[in-house]
């Protein structure tokens, strides 16, 4: 059995999932810290 389609699928899932959770966490962090900074500036 040709293993390469399984290898490509495994790498795509891992890289895709890792990038997705990293990007999600980064955007959430920037947004939350931005909101906190904006509120500090106002008061």
């Amino acid at each position: 059995m040709n293993a390469w389609p399984f290898i490509v699928a495994a790498y795509a899932l891992t890289v895709g999932g890792t990038i997705a959770v990293t990007a999600w966490s980064y955007v959430a962090m920037r947004r939350a810290e931005g909101d906190a900074a904006a509120l500090s500036d106002r008061s």
């Binding site: 293993a3 495994a10 790498y11 899932l13 891992t14 890792t18 959770v21 962090m29 939350a32």
Partner: protein, 240 residues
């Protein structure tokens, strides 16, 4: 440990550490995956499918390390009432669940060309599936407790009790005659049955994913601390 109980002190260290862990982890992952895909030999019995192990093993390691961190944070919360422990446990849960799912998915993709099946109800695979359910339960419970304004004690107890599954996963290949292969690397004995040409990219990949995991956890902790700050300030602003 209580030195870092102060969020301001924690953030002073977490801010530069997030970027450092993220970039170093990303670079190591890229190097290790290219190494594993293009520069390592096929294994004698597994053939080319051995390359899947360069992503499967780090995912399995992080799935278990993630729950170990949740259990440690839960203990710190219950015993010492460490203010960052609840935030840390919640921050670990989502990437931990992701890597558990990735471990199961990549394991299935490795199993099909190697064993001839995507899934078998074997001790290691079943206990890893239980870990995924535990992560899902933890995330749901933590969300529900936060919504109700609880201290997260029930979630912490769940985090500690769930750690019972960790030795079951680890020793499943010893206790039961399973399809899953036995232990190949022993950190305690400092021994490995894997050839150096495959062991080094595997270790670099595991280290790279671990560093990135650390960066993700710090990002999620920083986000939660900032949200808590906004929430507290808003409450003060509307208070009579």
């Amino acid at each position: 440990m209580h030195v870092y109980a102060n969020p301001a002190r924690f953030l002073k260290i977490a801010r530069p550490l997030t970027a450092w862990l993220g970039w170093a982890g990303g670079a190591m992952i890229l190097a290790a995956l290219a190494w594993g895909l293009f520069y390592t030999p096929p294994e004698r019995l597994q053939g080319e499918s051995v390359r899947i192990l360069y992503v499967h093993v780090p995912a399995a390691w992080l799935a278990m390390a993630g729950w170990s961190a949740i259990a440690a944070a839960s203990l710190a919360q219950l015993v010492w009432r460490h203010p960052l422990a609840t935030i840390a446990a919640r921050a670990v849960s989502v990437p931990g669940a992701l890597f558990t799912a990735l471990c199961l998915a990549t394991g299935s993709l490795w199993g099909r060309p190697t064993w001839g099946t995507y899934w078998e109800w074997d001790g290691r695979m079943t206990s890893m599936l239980v870990l995924l359910f535990l992560y899902a339960g933890f995330i749901a419970l933590a969300g529900a407790e936060k919504e109700k304004g609880g201290e997260g004690r029930l979630t912490a107890i769940f985090g500690l009790v769930g750690a019972v599954n960790l030795p079951i996963i680890h020793y499943s290949v010893t206790w039961w005659n399973t399809l899953h292969q036995g232990q190949s690397i022993s950190f305690v004995r400092g021994r490995s049955s894997i050839d150096g040409s495959m062991l080094w990219p595997l270790l670099v990949s595991a280290l790279g994913f671990s560093l990135l995991f650390g960066a993700i956890v710090l990002m999620r902790m920083r986000a939660e601390l900032a949200r808590n700050k906004v929430e507290a300030r808003m409450k003060r602003m509307v208070a009579p």
